[in-house]
């Protein structure tokens, strides 16, 4: 059996090459624009990342040269569009190191991927008295679909606690696993805290008790190389727009044996082999789960985004982002009255904080006047905010194009915030 403690592919060099960030920034046309007359400092990447020209070009090229419906036409455009769409599936398969392309289901985003599992696998495998285990740091998209399922099936939702640093308490988590545990649903990286969860260990623990594991990878794939086979996870979901791709496209990976046994999610065209009014035979994977005309351009755009990411290299990206994260952690702590929310040892991409006496919403408005985009609010993680006794945080989140100079701009902006409220 493969152990799954290391999520970084072995191809990673010991010391990754430094990124030429200024050169990479030129790939993202939006970074050239001004906001309120100042250069855009985009630090809201956990909400959505900006798109490189390669992705924009792929979308334009598709609609300019290839647009057609797929999987059904005999004409040239339809064949070309089908080929491009399925090539994108192959790109995703290799990106996640999935065994087969049919294990890659295109969905609207991580949210739809999780709902798909809840409503198909969940409704056939979770019964009265069964349990689903999540953690206290989950995004609403990895809470609510399970609450809905538990209500439908009279099952129980169990929540594993975290410590003040925002780290999962593994011992407590393990205690929640029992004979009734059917599924563990866990975020790979927390969107509100940046905590990287030890999903390798978590998957091992769950599998020892015959529970399946769904990983919400929305915040992980832009920062960490993911190998679903090394991890041995059962389901892995992510959103295209958080990894430099278009909105409206995302991926659900599932082990073929599980996907085969699951009922379809939605009925319609493309997901059938034959239809009579008496009986419908469902299509084979992955099409069984892709009813209706899919988001063809989105899949192609996502493929282009992943190829861009691969060309830059996830290891040098991770190393660069960690440098900026460490620099940001140090600089932010020098701001009087600032408290970081989420200080886990293993973090990726997120600097969440509160400023004494100043509401995050006011911080966001004043920083925006300086051209600095951050997110303020509860980050779709209200139970997590309650855990920390706050209603909201300000969050700066990183991508490959962010620089230490932008962290300096953020800190200068925060001093300005404090001047306004002095």
């Amino acid at each position: 059996m493969t152990t799954a403690t290391n999520t970084v592919r072995s191809a990673q060099p010991a010391v990754p090459a430094d990124l030429d960030v200024q050169k990479l920034r030129a790939d993202f046309p939006i970074l050239r624009r001004l906001v309120h007359g100042k250069p855009l400092v985009y630090l809201d990447n956990a909400a959505t990342t900006q798109k490189p020209q390669a992705v924009i070009d792929a979308l334009v090229s598709y609609y300019t040269n290839e647009n057609a419906n797929i999987h059904r036409g005999v004409h040239t455009l339809s064949e070309e569009a089908t080929e491009s769409h399925e090539e994108a599936r192959g790109v995703v398969q290799r990106f996640l190191n999935a065994a087969e392309p049919r294990e890659i289901i295109f969905v609207r985003g991580a949210t739809e991927g999780i709902n798909l599992v809840a409503q198909t696998w969940g409704r056939t495998n979770v019964g009265a008295g069964d349990e689903i285990v999540i953690t206290a740091m989950e995004h609403h998209s990895n809470i609510v679909p399970w609450q809905m399922l538990c209500e439908q099936r009279a099952a129980k939702l169990r929540v594993a606690p975290i410590n003040d640093a925002g780290e999962l308490l593994l011992d407590e988590f393990e205690k929640l696993l029992g004979p009734r545990t059917k599924l563990v649903a866990i975020g790979h990286v927390s969107n509100a805290l940046g905590t990287v969860n030890p999903i390798g260990k978590i998957i091992e623990m769950a599998h020892r008790r015959k529970a399946r594991v769904l990983v919400d990878g929305a915040q992980a794939v832009p920062h960490i190389a993911v190998d679903v086979r090394a991890l041995d996870c059962d389901f892995y979901a992510f959103s295209g727009h958080k990894v430099y791709g278009p909105t409206g496209i995302g991926v659900l990976y599932g082990k073929a044996e599980l996907l085969e046994a699951m009922p379809p999610y939605q009925g319609g065209g493309d997901m059938i082999s034959s239809v009579t009014f008496e009986k419908t035979i469902y299509n084979h994977l992955p099409h069984k789960f892709e009813a209706g005309t899919p988001h063809v351009s989105g899949a192609i755009g996502l493929g282009a985004a992943i190829e861009y990411l691969n060309a830059v290299g996830i290891a040098p990206i991770a190393a660069h982002e960690h440098r900026v994260l460490d620099y940001g952690t140090e600089r932010l702590q020098s701001v009087p009255g600032l408290r970081l929310i989420g200080t886990a040892k293993d973090k990726a991409g997120v600097l969440s904080f509160v400023l004494e006496g100043i509401h995050p919403h006011d911080i966001g408005t004043i920083l925006d006047q300086e051209g600095i985009a951050i997110r303020t609010g509860h980050h779709c993680a209200q139970p997590l905010m309650q855990r920390f006794g706050i209603s909201a945080t300000a969050r700066a989140s990183l991508a490959l194009y962010n620089t230490v100079e932008e962290i300096d701009a953020l800190v200068t902006g925060l001093h300005k915030v404090q001047e306004v409220f002095a």
Binding site: H36, G37, G357, I358, H359, P360, H361, D362, T365, I366, Q369, T376, G377, H378, Q382, M385, S391, A392, V420, F421
Partner: protein, 148 residues
């Protein structure tokens, strides 16, 4: 370009730091919650109404400077006013923060400080949160009102 000082007027900053009537109201006979699920702002407005008049008014909760100052100044402006006047104020205030009208009434003079909000459309819901709760309280709504 909108100036920050248009939004964070001195009187707004002052009220956000030292909100007036910031307490639960003993003897309140109606109250309502206002909640902004997007940013987590959450206020409860308490009223003691008798003979069609707002005899006392207070608020509790947490939120940004704009929402807190707005709630504070609302309680000052409405104490002793009739419920019809309060409804009319709601309309006028809404017009002020959405930039529909200049400020005419003397009673609204202090609230004119919120005119700058109209330059920051995403903050309109902050400025009106307590006002929506007020209206819900006067109309006897049971559910928390939301500005989303």
């Amino acid at each position: 370009m909108a100036d920050l000082r248009d939004l964070y007027h001195d009187v707004i900053l002052e009220h956000s730091k030292r909100p007036r009537n910031f307490r639960t109201l003993e003897g309140a006979n109606c109250s309502a919650e206002g909640f902004n699920p997007l940013c987590g702002d959450h206020f409860t407005v308490f009223l003691q109404v008798g003979d069609g008049k707002i005899r006392d008014i207070s608020f509790q909760g947490s939120g940004c400077a704009i929402s807190k100052a707005s709630a504070s100044m609302m309680t000052q402006a409405l104490k002793g006013k009739s419920t019809e006047e309060a409804e009319a104020f709601f309309q006028k205030f809404h017009d002020v923060v959405t930039g529909k009208n200049g400020v005419e009434s003397d009673d609204l003079s202090k609230l004119a400080a919120f005119a700058g909000v109209s330059e920051f459309p995403v903050r309109v819901k902050c400025a009106t949160l307590a006002w929506h709760a007020l209206r819900a309280a006067l109309q006897g709504e049971q559910q928390a009102v939301s500005t989303e």
